[in-house]
Symmetry: C3
Subunit: 264 residues, 3 copies
Amino acid sequence: MSKSLITLTTDFGEADYYVPAMKGVILSINPAAEIVDLTHQIPPHDIYAAAFTLKCCYTDFPRDTIHLVVVDPGVGSNRRPIMVMTDNYKFVGPDNGVFSYIYQAEPVNRIVGFTTEHYFRQPVSNTFHGRDVFAPCAAYVSKLVEWRMMGEEVSDPVRFNIPAPAVLPDGRVRGSVIHIDRFGNVITNITDAELTGEAMQAGARVRIGKHEAARVLNHFAAAGPNELFAYFGSAGFLELAVPRQSAARMTEARRGAEVEVVVG
Amino acid sequence: MSKSLITLTTDFGEADYYVPAMKGVILSINPAAEIVDLTHQIPPHDIYAAAFTLKCCYTDFPRDTIHLVVVDPGVGSNRRPIMVMTDNYKFVGPDNGVFSYIYQAEPVNRIVGFTTEHYFRQPVSNTFHGRDVFAPCAAYVSKLVEWRMMGEEVSDPVRFNIPAPAVLPDGRVRGSVIHIDRFGNVITNITDAELTGEAMQAGARVRIGKHEAARVLNHFAAAGPNELFAYFGSAGFLELAVPRQSAARMTEARRGAEVEVVVG
Amino acid sequence: MSKSLITLTTDFGEADYYVPAMKGVILSINPAAEIVDLTHQIPPHDIYAAAFTLKCCYTDFPRDTIHLVVVDPGVGSNRRPIMVMTDNYKFVGPDNGVFSYIYQAEPVNRIVGFTTEHYFRQPVSNTFHGRDVFAPCAAYVSKLVEWRMMGEEVSDPVRFNIPAPAVLPDGRVRGSVIHIDRFGNVITNITDAELTGEAMQAGARVRIGKHEAARVLNHFAAAGPNELFAYFGSAGFLELAVPRQSAARMTEARRGAEVEVVVG
């Protein structure tokens, strides 16, 4: 029995029985599964945060890893449980848009809707499909059960609109905040495709609300105390930070807030 | 050496050295042990919350799993370290009532008090038996050390009273709150043994304090915005919730609060 | 391929993609690595808290464990990534003093500065060396890559001053607070080397600010309600606590605060 890696992303927190129940179900079905917590601190029901967090690290895992995501505000309704299959990974979770970044980032070979109740934990509750549907399905997938046994192809998955930055005629770049991390760093959707090295050398200023980061730096240590500055973060996006402080608090930035880069 | 599963439930949080010290001790004694965190966020010293959380998921783990629970307000006093043995599981922890739900739920084959100091980490501190007594004992149990080597049978374990719901002559059901989860869902001790499907179809209303849930629903998505509603949760208990809000905050419910169900 | 144990200590929290990205990188390089979370809740950039937490439990892990610590306020600057090798363990992290307690506690056989970029994840970001430098280096070390392949010896590691307690001519002991834990217990740098059993039997009182612990007890259960008391904790240090309350809140103690023990 080969070792199978399964990552878990949920909004269940770590105080309740929800996460260990899922792990127990997985290990009961496949004792060789190795479970890695991606995070359980997605804000409750926040499929956008789950989608972003998964996007930022799923490719760091070995080929054939199964990424299981249970952020599921529609539990008990008729939203479908699905598996998204790409060349290197399988993604298991609710069909509510949580895999939108995956659809954008790479070719999808197949999407399967799980319908075969034989692979569910019985009885299936109305409120905890993480334990009763998603965990057992991911565990059976990790045991290489053929997808045709578990359900049917789905051709119309739910996807949400991923906001794209725009380069204006005068050279300004207009984007938006897509995430705020634990340090209060403000992550935008602007990448080096919109903001070239030459533009940055000409002097780029990043504006958010009434605040402006006057410099785009290479690393935190180059910033002055209390300085709001910009940098390209480890996920490839332009971010705003303040040394040892929360840029989100300083700028009162929220997800969706407009960000503008002025060059020269 | 066969893989042994050990779950950990503590009130140590995840910020200090307490949990990794326990894991290091276990892995030093049994490198083949596989440790799964149940939770470390039990409120400090709250044996009732630990008992409830364990109850809700221990049966999801594979047969022969060892469930190690260290919520131990009496550490250093003469409360006993014990192991509870049932057909499918072993439970290791302090004899302070934390296994009360287990005693209620299934036949206990034997309870052992650990007395053989050979199996403790030396020197035994007065304040951290999780590391010095419980972790090493669980690790030796996972290596299949015979219980007779490790201690003596105990016949009078400490157990706390588990509040039971009552069905009144007029058909009302009176229960109480036994847990509040991360989402603010309010979990009562009322099950479908007290509240039948017919009763619910006749229209059951659930009262807590000055608040009332007018409907018992099958799933969250059926509730209206801001609606306090009731449902049978994934652990088999009647729960109160509000979509995307905290029912505990709305109702000011606390553990022990009275809950009443009026039918028809 | 032998099982290799790697512990992780960071200030990344558990809500973002930082920790799983590191785990994914490690498991991609060495699928046989077994990763144990020490903690990810070190206060942001607090190398003192990281150093203390590691010190308190690293010896509980099996011989040959690799302890990976990423609390790295100087990420992107020219601080070196290093490995500290002792008889039983290897420590991987930034050269910023986070291993100061290790240097004090035991002989160091060698310190290596990682310079061979072949062992880094490419491209190396300026802000996340946990993923791009430290995780892959630890993973290659766990695969027993020879240190000479990975870098060069370092002879002048950064170390911070560990405050030492003093015994005054009149017998008083003057120390300081070095840590505060989740329960609000106040941990000082005073050990039984400064405060002997005889001194304690003669009646030791522990003062912090305007507060005094009148008794040094053996365990929590011996304390009265609301009593501020002292005891030798599980890491070998004199600690202050209040039963079921936060001694830190009661005494307003912070790290670095002076603590005085008066005997007799």
